[in-house]
């Protein structure tokens, strides 16, 4: 390995999926940052998908993101539909899937600024969802995603 792990944990202990889920269960959204190339990684991995280093560290992202793509899934109401599915580009760089809550599905737009929080997935499980970020109020809502 070009970049030996700083903590020595990449071969031992719970893997990145487990650690991510543990944070999520505690209401915390965490992504990884590569100490070797300084880029962020999502979804959780053992190896940096940008440079191949294993020197990845967990950190709280800003929570800010921009909607990259959107689809409204037209499932029936008894299956929870219709609901939106978005791809969000996090301010730190990585893209993730999500859902924008709090506004009508047909008003979710590509380019819309959003903020992450831990909400509920289709099965009631904790997952990262997004709220529209009103630029007028964003200045007094700084802070990491919770």
């Amino acid at each position: 390995m070009t970049h030996p792990p700083a903590t020595g944990t990449w071969t031992e202990g719970p893997g990145p999926d487990v650690i991510f889920a543990q944070h999520l269960a505690a209401g915390e959204f965490r992504i990884q940052r590569c100490a070797a190339c300084a880029r962020h990684v999502f979804y959780p991995r053992l190896v940096c998908n940008h440079c191949g280093s294993v020197d990845l560290h967990w950190q709280a992202p800003s929570g800010r993101g921009t909607v990259y793509a959107v689809s409204v899934v037209n499932r029936s109401a008894d299956k929870g539909g219709p609901y939106n599915v978005v791809l969000v580009d996090l301010a730190e760089g990585p893209r993730m899937m999500g859902r924008v809550d709090g506004i009508a599905n047909d008003t979710v737009r590509i380019g819309m600024s959003v903020r992450a929080r831990v909400g509920q997935g289709a099965g009631g499980e904790p997952c990262v969802v997004f709220d529209p970020l009103d630029p007028d109020v964003s200045t007094d809502r700084e802070g990491s995603a919770r």
């Binding site: 793509a69 689809s71 409204v72 899934v73 791809l87 899937m97 590509i110 997935g121 289709a122 499980e125």
Partner: protein, 386 residues
Amino acid sequence: MSGSSLRGHAAIVGAALAGLGEAPGRSSEDIAIEASVKALAEAGLTTRHVDAVFGSLPGNANPLSALLIAEMLGIQPRFTDNNRTGGSTFLSYTLMAAMALKEGLCETALIFYGSNQRTASGKLVSSVKPFAYEAPYAPIFPATSYALAASRHMHDYGTTREQLAAVAVAARAWANLNPQAFMRGPLSVADVLASRMVSSPLTVRDCCLVTDGGAAIVMTRADRARHLPKKPVYLLGAAAATTHMNIIAMADLTRTAAVDSGQRAMAMAGVAPRDFDVVELYDAFTINTILFLEDLGFCTKGEGGAFVASGAIAPGGALPVNTNGGGLSCVHPGMYGMFTLVEAVQQLRGEAGERQVAGAELALCHGNGGVLSSQITNVLGTEATL
């Protein structure tokens, strides 16, 4: 001309379809075997000639499909490939077969597919398990991933739902010339727009069919192919490229790895987009056709919507695309790749009946696997293109 010694070294000498549409009471294996035996028969060969088997069946009921089908056919292959890259995989089998034939690792290669998904389950039988970082949002697999790509293409290039619908309308017009197509009859842009929304902007008519069906092809060396009954169809070029597995890992949803696979396959064949007489694209969704036309160089990036809306890909248009009716209107039994190959073979032999493209000598087949993930391009041609 290309320096690749693979160009034209191997040929497709048998091609057959089976169980198209609905095949009640037939297993996926039955359908694959029927197609295999028919493909061998038209090549003047039998199972006893086959010493290499390539293929896969849908789902995970038996992932060792190539072993199973070989056993059921009484073949003990000396070369087997059960590679799975999604519906594109069959277009890599042709490349692997050509390489194995060239190296003398085998003499006669059988490539198969079969699925009874429609009559057995009524829905897509997928081998892909839900991805942990997408499952909480309950996207429809794989439709929502393609819908997301369509939304981005519309955003970046002004592509419209009407232009997406034009792909389905062109496919139906070709299907109406193909007695074996599952969905026939009139279809208008308005019909597509008014049909049930699945995952916006894609309606059910923007999505491929869910049918049964199987296909098989037989390949051998070109020097041997010339002594067999059917007009050989030569593999002139082939290349694969993969960018991701899950849609969240696709860097640009409007640009697929077909850019890369297409360029390399065409370089191997020594041809350019303008040279093709017929084009068979993996149209699991209407956005696929637009993306692949752009990425393979048949029009410029962003112009795919206008290109298809002009009627260019429909019967009578400048570029015949998906001449069997495609996955949208002819057949789509979970994995469609084989059907691009069989249709191209029929066109290049001049056996395509009412839908025959006059004088077709050079065909492009393009396979897609996963969610725009695996892209594999094949260039096929007649003796005249060697």
